[in-house]
Amino acid sequence: MMFTMSAASLRQAPHVRVAARRVGVYVYINISFFVKTLLPQARTIDLQYQTMQAQNAPNIEPRRLADLYFMEHRAKLLDIAAFLDRIDRAKGATNPGDHRVTVLQRVIPILTDGQPERVRRILDALSDPSTEPIAQASVKGATGVPPADKTS
């Protein structure tokens, strides 16, 4: 209470009001110069801050995500099942399985193991594990899975 009264009486003093106004103008000029000088970087930093804020915002409700994506991914799951059925129908006693399909089937359990970062882990499992350059590029294309001799 004492502090509130003192502050109120100080604000009414003419010399304090003038000084406060001068400080305000000084701060305003300097901030304006700072912002104008550092644009567009300042704007970018501000937007990145806003993005970080958004990322810290509550997650989207699982129900809303399911509403958005369930049907699309139900269809994709059925596509995978149909693809594997098609491969099975084509297989015969003299027709061994395709290496790419074998590797694909091997990573499918990652989908249901309950652990995070499924996409990264599947991509890692589908990556060439070697680290040295190969001697020569004999083809240009990629198959989508590591070569059989590099697959664990």
Binding site: D124, D128, Q136
Partner: protein
């Protein structure tokens, strides 16, 4: 909303696509030199291609109010023939003063071979010698993780190139963190089958943030969509994320990186 598509191969697209891009809000794009789908038989083929990128495409884009910029190099798919590659590299300095050239790209690796790596190192040195920005192509599918690391190691070995002047393109979930942690910019390419879908690109932003990231369509002669960038914008809004994400990924971040080249003059009015 105006946006920049920082990686698209317009030589493979129709004039109608320029119109569609303009109608969707694209005001500027950058076009890296790349593989035509077949191997060119001589350096002269590249000379003509570089003329197309620096003379013809800017005029075609300007008809629709789009600013066209480009990057020059020999791409990694044609780098196995080192003799041809070196003859092409020798052509590049004569084009670096063209008004729409931003730097060297898209250089990188394809199958991670020794010859590809040798030509990559020579083009990194070229960028250093002429003080150019670098746009990096990372390999496809199973070769991406290994190739991305080999490329970043090669840039580090050069010792003179600042990571902040290099964009590592075509990152995915297993490469994005390492590229950003090593100080590079990173590009997310939106493709229907390979690379990223708009949904996965937004997942990456939710997971890793938007700092030093951009999105591009890399529209070319294969399965690709020149309107993939605005479709990703729609995905951001559909998911209830703020419009500022769109501005960051498709305006402020590309402008900040590309404006390191004094030639890039988009939004500098």
């Amino acid at each position: 909303m105006p946006y920049i598509d920082p990686h698209i191969h317009m030589v493979s697209r129709t004039t109608d696509d320029y119109q569609r891009l303009a109608l969707a809000g694209c005001v500027a794009l950058t076009e890296p030199a790349f593989w035509a789908g077949y191997d060119r038989s001589s350096p002269q083929g590249f000379y003509d291609y570089f003329r197309q990128l620096t003379e013809f495409e800017p005029k075609r884009a300007a008809q629709f109010g789009i600013q066209h910029y480009t990057w020059l190099c020999i791409n990694p798919k044609e780098a196995e023939d080192t003799r041809l590659a070196r003859e092409v590299i020798a052509l590049i300095p004569d084009f670096l003063n063209k008004p729409n050239v931003l730097g060297i790209g898209e250089i990188g690796l394809n199958k991670n071979s020794r010859n590809e790596l040798a030509i990559l190192e020579e083009q990194i040195a070229l960028a250093d010698r002429f003080d150019q920005l670098i746009l990096v192509h990372t390999p496809h599918l199973e070769d991406k993780r290994k190739g991305t690391r080999l490329i970043m190691d090669a840039i580090k070995r050069n010792g003179k190139i600042k990571p902040s002047r290099v964009l590592i393109d075509h990152v995915e979930e297993h490469t994005v963190r390492e590229a950003l942690d090593r100080g590079y910019w990173a590009g997310m390419t939106l493709y229907p089958d390979s690379k990223l879908t708009p949904q996965r690109a937004v997942d990456i932003v939710e997971t890793h943030g938007s700092e030093r990231l951009w999105i591009n369509s890399a529209g070319d002669w294969g399965p690709s969509d020149p309107l993939a960038v605005p479709k990703c914008h729609n995905e951001i809004l559909r998911r209830g994320r703020p419009r500022e994400w769109i501005e960051t990924l498709s305006w402020h971040n590309p402008r900040t990186f590309l404006s390191q080249s004094p030639r890039f003059q988009v939004g500098h009015d």
